[in-house]
Symmetry: D3
Subunit: 205 residues, 6 copies
């Protein structure tokens, strides 16, 4: 299968579905990433680009596409939808992961809306969560216990972002592990990533 | 895998997930049914029992369990939950299908609540819809185009119920086909059954 | 009464509330349509314009207003709201129909938001559904059994769009009939269109 | 038309839809009331019965049915549904009003659930609100400006209840007028009652 | 504490949380206001500016910031978020009040979204309601009985707006009092303002 | 102030709001607990009673009330509501904590409904979450960083329950810490408990 994950900034994809992507790649599926902005608000864009490339490599992704927008300047425009359309045309995904539409960050809201439009004929489209997501009630889970260490390593590759939670003493690694444990219980496993379906056409095999 | 479908009355399971069950059985999975009441409000209970047995056979179900309650008298009692627990103990389901909790029929509300409690440690639990369901927004779909005729045949086996829609000129077969077509488009196929997840632990293979 | 239906593209109005509009016109009410874009993404805009004019005539509409936007380029701008305001000023609607705000198509989201703003002092405003609508739970229904054939004819007038569902073997006529039957049962009739109220001031007569 | 309003206690109907009922009766429709409990928790049941009879007379109701339950002891039982069924059989309502299901009072929750079940084939069923209702977002309104004084008089007939708000200095008359004004603006009139549809089959005339 | 209230137009803040602000100022907290547009659609902007300045003075606000946008032209842009960020930087609020995101007015929707983004690290952020708000279910209340007269006086200071409800015979003062009484009962007091939390970090003292 | 926490089983209160209760008691408020069932399904009831008494003592609670029901047999009956009423009469709470109504455990659903009814005139009532809670979106948070160790100790006092998560390798202590960290970020602190308001009358001081 072809898997495409779309994220507004470098590191959003890894936080939201990095564990699932590692498992898809391990199993032999073709994973691609599309990052819409340069993340320049969080650090120098060249650093963030390099971190994202490292992360893509670590996941084992076949492709890394950039939307080319500047951080904090994303809008749900026709242009953005067309750019995602073009990546979909190329990556031919069977499954698309995208961030959830309710979010305190404006780029995230725009990214989610545009990606929901661009994926309108894809048969499996799943929302993931990041720390700024609001009102998220996942009901689909992926067990990431066996790749948790790899997921945490993945987040460490975004070294410029690890301590940028703006909550005292809290870093992203700790936050990601707690989230995985919290969602894990909801999926009845120890560590999980949680997802919400835009639509999922389920195979019976 | 072991699949268990739970329904408040004879024919609810077939309407809600008959197509998916036929596909599971065809693929070699072990399908079991649990019907909570005797359906005596709709017809003579011996007729409905016989119809349900025929339907189970046609699906290719390995087991058919009866809750033993009288139609319209279901409550979400400890006793009912314990009965479902016992069937789960025996059928060891990997996947459970149950009717949705918002419904104009009191038996359906009670069945859904009890089944949600009884399945609390099952890793995949999915709500299905029937005509009395309210507020249902499925986001998981199973393509039933190739088994639609078999699903309609299945509904015909509940011969005492086919014309009991209480809407003039409308029968259950027509209604089921329209629903499959309506949900089909949402799942981006021609005919589908729609589901909503209580929780689904998704395998990556 | 004066009835105004607003749609993002040619054919959206007919799909969503064509049956109700035919009944309003038959009963002697003055029906007007406002179509916001030229539908150029779906076919040559001159073809779509001609189809829309035919459809308006078939409904028996007194007026057909165009928003003048290009397909896929609608935004919920002040300009769009002002344009709808101007049509409201002219058509003086007692009832307005508009598409629902949750939708995978960006034009539809923008159209719904702008129309909700423009209709803020109208006493009856109802959302309709189209195939790209999401999360729609209608609770107001119009029986369209006696005009179903006319509604299907209406959709056929948008000949360039009939097979554009992007789902294999599915065309819009079949989809519309299934939807009418599915919503019909919810309204306790055989075929219905389903609506959700923004606000409805109900007359007691 | 035949109109039936169902309420858990004496005075709930009048608070929730007294204005609409007065207008229905004035216009020549046949209004019936069904009160499920004796209201004995609020005052002596014989007083509350007499007050309710006065209120029914003032509305101009053709029938007043009693459920016969004791205050605070209502459950959503088969027995209750059967009792409402029997009244529906007799009153043959075209429109049913019932209290909303989300409510801090247990009798109200049970009444709403039972009435939703009993009215499952009625083509127009509307929820009304009372002070203990929660999460109510009406989107259908009835203008009661011309009968507001009569509605307040109606509430005064339930004299044993007027000061029972348990909020200091607040009585039911003041509360009802504020609610009517608050809902009024939502319906774009000065005073309104607000409703939410279980289902409404709308006539086009 | 430092309190910041953000409103799309002159008078929105006073309608939504004027009572709470008066109480905060009375108690010795530092209240600031930020008004995003000039309100020029409702009256001459110089009049509205003067009214807003009077209102801020009457509240006892320490600061009044202007967003500088023209009425009806607000969009949830990066620029707007940055402007609010700058005010937050200066006012250092512990608590922020902002209008709710579901609203029939486009400026209100944009203001709410931008303010949710700008306040993402503030520990107490509360939505207030105005007459154009939709789907608002407050669950946090402030008792304004002792300042109701002052709140009504505050609204009268926006003299150009008092009769602009576009509902016959209804003025803003009456509407505000009814709303306070309606929300009051929900908070179990006579008059209240109702709020909904974006997030509230509650002190235990 | 007087604080009352209500829980369906021994340990639910400690999981849901143990940290907040410790802080209330530390600050000098009078904390009471009401536990509705004996927890006999999880272990010998005498053990669970002893554990609960230890926990109450550790919190510094002034009172511990028992509902006297058997585990798994709770229903939202008049009797249960009356029992909670009696405790409220005695404890005179200013703030009540109760478990959320959406829950896979039938006792929890019944407890929440009964407690919502019993607390209908209390001015601050907050829902807490436990691992079986569903659809919980807290928007009020209490910082528990400084009492996290004490909260974990509190959970250890329910020694019979620590490993009863039925998820492999997961214990309640780990789960509680992850939840506190997950909710912490939502409240913009390191560790928090999350709550949802039934109603909160907020003091301005």
């Amino acid at each position: 299968m072809n898997i495409l994950a779309i994220g507004p900034h470098p590191d959003d994809i890894e936080i939201g579905c990095g564990g699932a992507l590692i498992k898809y790649a391990q199993t032999g599926h073709a994973v691609s990433l599309m990052v819409l902005t340069d993340g320049s608000y969080g650090a120098d864009p060249s650093i963030r680009r390099a971190e994202q490339e490292e992360a893509a490599k670590y996941i084992g992704a076949k492709g890394l596409y950039w939307g080319g927008y500047r951080d904090t300047e994303l809008g749900c425009s026709r242009e953005l939808i067309v750019k995602i359309d073009a990546v979909i045309e190329q990556a031919k995904p069977d499954v698309v992961f995208l961030n959830f539409w309710a979010d305190v960050h404006q780029d995230h809201r725009a990214a989610a809306q545009a990606a929901v439009s661009a994926t309108r004929y894809i048969k499996e489209v799943l929302f993931y969560e990041v720390p700024s997501t609001q009102h998220f009630e996942p009901d689909i889970f992926v067990d990431i216990q066996d790749v948790l260490e790899r997921k945490l390593h993945l987040l460490r590759l975004h070294a410029s972002q690890v301590d940028k939670t703006r909550v005292e003493n809290l870093n992203i690694l700790e936050s990601a592990q707690s989230c995985a444990n919290y969602r894990g219980f909801q999926g009845r496993v120890k560590f999980a990533e949680g997802f919400k379906s835009v639509r999922m056409l389920r195979e019976i095999r």
